[in-house]
């Protein structure tokens, strides 16, 4: 089995806005091993979102190669890429992107609807397992508007887990959350990472980045700095030191 999940070489991405060409990525080389927990950082406009879109196969690079789990994405057509997203990737968004007026369980089931090989019984079981993994099995029949922000993000994480992906991609997963809830989400990510999940997330907050095992810094479309996190934070430990707020969530 290949331990390198992501391999990127000489990646470039150009956008054409009118007559101006914007070079969003100007030659990026990157490798991500199985089991890594990577934080991509950078100021806005540094190319980190473009990078995440390409990693998530939502966008194609202009030049360069991208191998996801040994598959070269560049040579694939749209439908094949959709299948790849469905079976190899999990997405977590800043704004959760849950379907309104749809229960937590059904939201989690959603990716499996697009996999014709999975029967409805298996689908439900997988969704229940994923909800259990994020600690929300008691909330499975709640609608998103009956859940707090943190809980909604947990449902979204459960959704990203349900298809057993090789890689979870998170775009500012704590961007809409307060400090304590952010740490709770990071605690969940660390827990999943300990169980062997490969996670890549984008953040611009330095302290959130310190939960990862490796930080990749983007600047002007290139990797400006790449380092292993030396003084790694443990979310569980930090949460113990934080005062417990009286009203943190509502049912």
């Amino acid at each position: 089995m290949n331990d390198i999940i992501i391999e990127i070489q000489g990646l470039r991405k150009d956008y054409h806005v009118g007559e101006v060409t914007v070079h969003a990525l100007r030659g990026v080389d990157m490798k991500i091993q199985k089991g890594e927990f990577v934080a991509i950082m950078g100021a806005s406009g540094s190319g980190k979102s473009t990078m995440l879109n390409i990693l998530g196969c939502l966008d194609q690079p202009t030049h360069g190669d991208y191998l996801l789990d040994g598959i070269n994405v560049k040579s694939m057509n749209k439908d094949a890429v959709a299948k790849l997203r469905n079976q190899k990737l999990g997405f977590v968004f800043q704004a959760y992107n849950l379907l309104a007026r749809t229960t937590a369980l059904e939201n989690v089931e959603l990716p499996l609807f697009y996999n014709p090989k999975i029967r409805s019984k298996e689908r439900k079981e997988a969704a229940l397992r994923a909800l259990e993994a994020v600690g929300l099995s008691d909330r499975m029949h709640h609608m998103p508007n009956q859940l707090s922000g943190g809980q909604q993000q947990r449902v979204a994480i459960a959704r990203s887990l349900v298809n057993d992906p090789v890689l979870i991609l998170a775009d500012e997963p704590t961007g809409n959350l307060d400090t304590r809830t952010s740490f709770e989400i990071m605690e969940l990510f660390q827990e999943l990472n300990e169980k062997g999940r490969t996670i890549v997330y984008v953040t611009h907050e330095l302290d959130i980045a310190r939960f990862a095992t490796r930080n990749v810094m983007f600047k002007d479309g290139k990797i400006s700095r790449e380092n292993m996190v030396t003084e790694r934070l443990n979310a569980r430990e930090i949460l113990k030191t934080l005062p417990v707020e009286a009203i943190e969530e509502f049912d």
């Binding site: 997405f91 749809t102 609807f113």
Partner: protein, 406 residues
């Protein structure tokens, strides 16, 4: 994504916006209902007219003298002396596709019984006439060949005449009435036939032997018309041609000469009337179809709104593995459900509407399976046709832009 899931997701999306879905469907409902009702009323009146025409006689072939023209002035057909009893004889002898032939001589005049009188038409005919014209003698008897030969003064009365002379429900058999001052013995009465399609009272008549009417009442040597029955409905056109051919021969009309008579058949009349009502029905249906089209445009409109509203959902579905065609199918399913559901309600509503209109106009409204099937087919096509463009728009969204859509 399999079809039951597709259906479920589409249904749920519609249930979320119940009122909107219903209002969108309303266009289709009204469209389908009006098409169904119009076609039902059209079909109903067509069948009513057909029934009236077939009650006129059995596979009837009619021969009338042609319009007489003298110096460009039409003198009308009844003044023509073109038809003679010899024509009837010729037809009886030579026409193989014709089963019964009767002459018709008409006279109109005053009929008197005791102190009552009425104005009516006296039809001079032969015995076959009753079966050709589907007339039924309910009491008494019909006249026989002997009475025809002897110019007997016997007659059969229609119900309206009985009512006018004797009062309703009276039994006039054996009584003597005066027609144009000649005494006639009533030997039978006719079953009432009601009004004809043209609003004419078909019971206001007296039937007598043609010899009697021709000589004693009208004092003419020609006849006004010939009525015959084709041996079957299929043979009707053949009988028509045969009658024409025989009459041209007996009238000694040259190859290029114009007929001095007209031959019509009941089936021809039926076809003419049917084609007229068909055109009317299609015209009504087409007008109703326009409202169906407007309903379809309503669906398209609301589907566009729906796609725009759910751009983020579309982006999410794409990011978790939904292909363009999955998204396309999802939105198509929604528009098809809208139109089919609208179609179902429209058919029910249209049926009720047709029943109501039918009872108001005393015309039966007949909803044919064909028009129901047609309505559903059209609804399905509308769903696909008007749902396609919005669904296409959704399927072609860029997932990155869709996810960021505010």
């Amino acid at each position: 994504m399999n079809y039951s899931n597709l259906l479920r997701i589409a249904l749920r999306a519609l249930i979320r916006n119940k009122l909107r879905a219903f209002l969108t469907m309303l266009g289709i409902i009204i469209g389908v209902a009006s098409v169904i009702a119009m076609l039902a009323i059209g079909e109903g009146s067509k069948q009513k007219i057909r029934k009236q025409i077939s009650s006129m006689g059995s596979n009837m072939v009619m021969v009338m003298p042609n319009f007489q023209r003298r110096g460009g002035v039409s003198l009308g057909s009844s003044s023509s002396m073109a038809l003679k009893y010899s024509d009837v004889v010729a037809l009886r002898a030579d026409a193989s596709d014709v089963s019964a032939v009767s002459p018709e001589v008409r006279a109109s005049g005053q009929v008197i019984y005791s102190n009552q009188n009425t104005q009516t038409t006296i039809y001079g005919v032969s015995e076959e006439y009753l079966s050709i014209k589907k007339l039924e003698v309910i009491s008494g008897r019909t006249f026989n060949a002997n009475e025809v030969k002897n110019m007997s003064k016997v007659c059969i009365l229609g119900q309206t005449v009985i009512e006018n002379l004797f009062g309703a429900g009276a039994d006039p058999i054996g009584l003597s009435i005066r027609i144009k001052n000649l005494p006639f013995t009533v030997i039978g009465t006719l079953k009432d036939k009601g009004e004809s399609g043209m609003g004419q009272d078909e019971d206001d008549l007296i039937i007598a032997p043609y010899t009697t009417v021709q000589r004693r009442l009208a004092a003419i040597d020609y006849i006004n018309g010939i009525y015959a029955s084709a041996i079957s409905e299929e043979k009707s056109p053949a009988a028509l041609a045969e009658v024409e051919e025989i009459l041209r021969r007996t009238h000694k009309i040259k190859e290029s000469g114009e007929n001095d008579f007209r031959v019509m058949s009941q089936s021809e009349l039926l076809n003419t009337v049917s084609s007229i009502t068909d055109v009317m029905t299609y015209l009504l249906g087409a007008i109703a179809g326009i409202s169906l089209l407007v309903g379809g445009i309503g669906i398209m409109n609301i589907m566009f709104v729906s796609v725009t509203e759910r751009t983020r959902e579309i982006g999410l579905r794409m990011s978790i593995g939904g292909r363009g065609k999955d998204i396309l199918k999802q939105f198509l399913a929604e528009s098809i459900i809208l139109s089919i559901l609208g179609g179902v309600m429209g058919v029910i509503f249209g049926y009720l509407l047709a029943r109501l209109a039918g009872s108001l106009m005393s015309t039966p409204a007949i909803v044919k399976t064909q028009s129901v099937v047609l309505a559903f087919a059209v609804c399905f096509i509308i769903g696909v046709f008007f749902g396609w463009y919005p669904a296409r728009k959704a399927a072609n969204l860029n997932p990155i832009d869709a996810l960021r859509y505010e």
